[in-house]
């Protein structure tokens, strides 16, 4: 069981694109060599912004809803697990349906793997690997009640996907609007600082 007290918070504003999270995730003994985390460069010409995606651990996960083989389990602690090997038929329904693009069906494996909140670690009271190593703590795993005092950005756990409301265990931090964004050195030089 993963403690309900702890939450996972994704804070893209802080992300420095270092991919330590990706590298560390791949070291996991349960999906050896394969990172489950997605790290996207948004548009390098326009901005140095990079964005990490880990599983949002939805309350009513769409991936599980659409799985014809009933291979995706959500445990009572709110963690949505990788597919169960004997059941998964590699149909990619989960991959296609996930609003956050999390599950990956690996070619040659015909099995879906996904971020399981480092269940081996978190169920023993450790932090997930990515949130442990993340140098800027863009990936944060702490007691939920501490977040308000730790961060100026605000956690969001409800998302509108089309007309569907999705509630998640993992939170995305919405940036503090007072923190500016600088993207073009030419504009800064010309006075738009």
């Amino acid at each position: 069981m993963v403690s309900d007290e702890y939450g996972f918070f994704i804070d893209p504003q802080r992300c420095i694109g270092c991919r330590a999270c990706v590298g560390a995730c791949a070291e996991c003994g349960t999906h050896k060599g394969r990172p489950m985390i997605h790290l996207d460069e948004m548009d390098r010409m326009e901005s140095p912004q990079t964005v990490p995606t880990v599983c949002m651990h939805c309350e009513d996960p769409i991936c599980a809803q659409v799985c014809p083989a009933d291979a995706i389990k959500r445990t009572d602690d709110g963690v949505v697990h990788s597919s169960q090997k004997p059941r998964c038929i590699g149909c990619e329904n989960c991959e296609l349906s996930c609003p956050f693009g999390v599950p990956i069906v690996f070619s040659g494996m015909e099995q879906m793997l996904k971020c399981d909140l480092c269940y081996d670690r978190t169920s023993e009271g450790l932090k997930p690997m990515c949130a442990t190593v993340c140098p800027s703590q863009a990936l944060l795993y702490v007691p939920k009640h501490q977040v308000a005092e730790m961060r100026r950005s605000k956690p969001v756990r409800e998302f509108l996907v089309g007309t569907l409301k999705v509630k998640t265990r993992t939170a995305v931090m919405v940036p503090d609007s007072e923190i500016p964004l600088h993207l073009d050195a030419a504009l800064l030089i010309e006075g738009g600082f």
Binding site: C18, A20, R34, L113, M129, P135, P180, A186, G191, F193
Partner: protein, 753 residues
């Protein structure tokens, strides 16, 4: 004589760089470790704590070390994947000698005998100083200390210097001038409590990634962040104020800020009067440095300069951080002093949440620069030209003043003297000058003129390819010792595994050479790193960098000890200058006027664009290690040219196009990376690669007159779009390797559950 003995392609086939992609035995192997070894990352000055997983004398992975206070488990990708430098196919496991057909493996005895003969021959024929030593500060304190003693007493040469000369030596000189000591003034804990953080010439997110979190923790308390850099780095993206100044104009900005601090009376007069000297002269120097003047030189808007001065001047607490951006200049020392003047004028140093530091780059950049690793320095940060200092070290070393050589040449000057033929022989360790010194082709020509060159390394680096003898040395995890992190915290490096084959710890190799040269009496007692450390403690006693009160046991118990630590019962000193007490004999800090002068090379009609160089988060220095680690190469396989879309449009350049970049030294062709995050009059190239891809083909051997640091951060170039068939063959090879790394990761075991 020392030209490479085979074609580069043939050398690459045998010695790499090849990529290590997976732990020993592959991802499928049972990697349940026998033990976890608490140690530190080898890939930057932050020295993150890490635990290495060891099984059957092989490092098979890592586990975060969350109890270590600096990083609490955090790591950048280099730290995460560092374990893959072990068990590497390119690893040197026996001694090599140059033959007509390439390198041949020889037994240790033959390699040693040849080396010692050649050292003796060259020194007899041309004099002691004709044999030089170049070393590096990825080495432990023990090895750095030993390198100094080895060169001076083992070889009797004055010509020893180190690659810290290419790192933070401008900061060292500036700090000693202003404060009388060369160390970060504070531990990083004071960053978190600062109200304004001024980061200048430091790509914190990529070169000191863990520091990012310290800065954000301050910002979450409401701190303001000012970043000064020609590029909008990942941290600058969200800073409160970004000042993308022209390369080489840093000292104009700090002068301009000091001018405004004075004009607006944002000076802490009580502090300045009680604890400093020289303020009047410093003010005199900046009296004409109006915002308009500053704007003209830096290319920044007047209002931005004023805003920066206000934010800095009005804060209650602050922390100023700088790094290679301001230090790698022909006025690196003045740039550093300009920053220090801003700090001193506001009196915000030596108090909680008020601090100043250079962010040391190399693994042991701090400790390695303290104990006689430099041509002008003796242990404890003593001065080799000071008779009192010499006397003390002669006593500790049990030698006469005549036996202790004087001040020698600095790193670049040693290479220059090799080029002119004044220096005939070289021993180098932990230094890859063919990638890291400026003006690559000059360095290559110099190396080819050596009569004898012996290199200690664990991989055959580009420079080692020019050696007559290569002695296989140990990796970081194959030896123990101490290092000193960027904060000034002395920490323990623990041994995880034994070196493979004939490879052995660098200190053992140096001690053996010294003994074979008949210097038993000075080196015979060095039977372990701890024995060396215990002599270092005594040698540093009474110096500014005083380690006397630090022992291996004490470090382990306290998870590091900050120097100065003069007595065994002393707790160490995380924060320097408390109570306004500085290290000069009068106890005061010195303001030193910094008159503006331009960089050695400025843009003109022929070379109209500024070039600046630097690092990426995925690679360490000259890349000898990180260019061999699959994951890191996959993320960043080769260099590129960062260019603003406006400048790119002027030359018809689009993303990925081949661009020829030419300076007065040479040219190279790289793919364009079109980004708005750089000034439109400036281009950037990361420097970690050799040969045709080396950014240092373009940079100049212009040095700061005091620190002798090369001006890597400011050159002038011209650019022209060219055709992709002009990309160096090596670029295609690196792209292929990165692809292989990716596909191999996709071809993992069929079933992992």
């Amino acid at each position: 004589m020392s030209t490479t003995p085979k074609s580069l392609a043939e050398l690459r086939d045998v010695y790499g760089p090849h990529l290590n992609l997976a732990p020993p035995g592959g991802w499928d192997a049972d990697l349940e470790p026998d033990k976890l070894v608490k140690t530190h990352c080898c890939f930057c000055g932050q020295q993150c704590g890490i635990q290495l997983k060891v099984k059957d004398n092989r490092v098979v992975g890592f586990e975060p070390w969350t109890e270590f206070p600096f990083n609490e488990g955090k790591l950048c990708p280099k730290g995460v994947k560092r374990y893959l430098q072990g068990n590497h196919p390119d690893r040197l496991t026996s001694a090599l000698v140059r033959t007509e057909h390439g390198f041949a493996e020889v037994d240790w005895e033959a390699a040693m005998a040849h080396t010692v003969n050649e050292i003796e021959r060259i020194q007899t024929q041309y004099g002691k100083d004709a044999f030089a030593v170049l070393s590096g500060v990825s080495l432990t304190n023990e090895k750095s200390y030993l390198a100094g003693k080895f060169a001076r007493l083992g070889l009797g040469t004055k010509n020893l210097d180190y690659n810290g000369r290419l790192c933070m030596v401008s900061a060292g000189v500036g700090n000693k001038k202003a404060f009388g000591v060369d160390r970060a003034a504070n531990s990083w804990a004071d960053i978190v409590g600062a109200d304004v953080i001024w980061v200048t010439g430091a790509n914190v997110a990529e070169c000191a990634p863990i520091t990012t979190d310290y800065i954000w923790r301050a910002r979450d308390r409401g701190a303001k962040l000012i970043v000064v850099d020609p590029r909008i780095t990942p941290l600058a993206r969200t800073a409160d104020l970004v000042l993308p100044l022209k390369p080489g104009s840093d000292c104009a900005l700090t002068n301009g800020v000091l001018h405004l601090l004075h004009k607006w009376d944002l000076i802490d007069w009580d502090f300045v009067k009680a604890h400093t000297t020289g303020f009047e002269q410093a003010l005199e120097e900046v009296k004409d440095c109006t915002p308009e003047w500053t704007s003209g030189l830096t290319g920044l808007p007047v209002a931005a300069i004023e805003k920066a001065a206000r934010m800095w001047g009005e804060a209650e607490t602050s922390f100023l951080l700088h790094a290679r951006g301001i230090e790698h200049q022909s006025k690196g020392v003045e740039n550093v002093l300009g920053c220090i003047n801003m700090v001193l004028a506001t009196g915000r140093i030596g108090k909680p949440n008020c601090g100043y530091a250079t962010i040391t780059g190399q693994g042991n950049g701090q400790g390695g620069r303290e104990h006689g690793h430099k041509c002008d320095q003796l242990p404890g940060n003593r001065d080799i030209e000071n008779p009192e200092h010499r006397k003390y070290i002669c006593e500790v070393w049990n030698c006469t003043d005549e036996e202790l050589p004087g001040k020698g040449l600095t790193a670049q000057e040693i290479m220059n003297a090799i080029h002119t033929g004044e220096i005939k022989g070289l021993l180098s360790l932990c230094f890859n000058p063919l990638v890291s010194l400026p003006d690559t082709e000059f360095t290559r020509a110099a190396l080819s003129r050596l009569e004898f060159y012996v290199n200690l390394d664990f991989f055959l680096s580009e420079t080692a390819q020019h050696a007559d003898v290569v002695l296989p040395a140990a990796l970081h995890e194959e030896d123990e010792g101490t290092t000193t992190s960027a904060e000034g915290r002395v920490i323990r490096i623990n041994k995880a595994v034994e070196p493979p084959g004939d490879a052995r710890a660098d200190w053992k190799i140096l001690v053996e050479i010294a003994q074979r040269l008949g210097k038993e009496k000075w080196f015979g007692h060095f039977t372990s790193p701890e024995a060396i450390f215990n002599e270092l403690r005594v040698a540093s006693k009474g110096g500014t960098a005083d380690y006397f009160g630090i022992t291996y046991e004490k470090i382990e118990k306290n998870l590091g000890v900050f120097w100065p630590c003069p007595e065994l019962d002393h707790p160490g000193t995380p924060r320097l200058f408390e109570g306004g007490k500085f290290f000069h004999p009068d106890g005061k800090a010195k303001f030193i006027p910094t008159r503006w002068r331009p960089p050695m090379e400025v843009v003109d009609a022929e070379y109209p664009i500024w070039l600046t160089t630097g690092r990426v988060v995925f690679h360490y220095l000259s890349g000898t290690q990180t260019r061999r680690i699959g994951f890191l190469v996959e993320q960043c396989p080769h260099p590129y040219l960062e260019i603003h879309p406006r400048l790119a449009a002027l030359h018809g350049i689009e993303e990925g196009d081949a661009v020829e970049i030419t300076s007065r030294r040479g040219a190279l062709v790289l793919p364009a990376k079109v980004v708005k995050s750089i000034r439109p009059d400036t281009v950037f190239i990361p420097y970690h690669w050799p040969g045709e891809l080396s950014a240092n083909r373009l940079t100049a051997r212009h040095l700061d007159p005091l620190s002798k640091i090369p001006e890597y951060k400011v050159s002038s170039v011209r650019i022209a779009k060219t055709t992709k068939d002009r990309f160096p063959a090596e670029l295609a090879e690196l792209q292929r390797m990165a692809f292989e790394a990716r596909t191999d990761q996709a071809n993992l075991p069929e079933q992992v559950f």
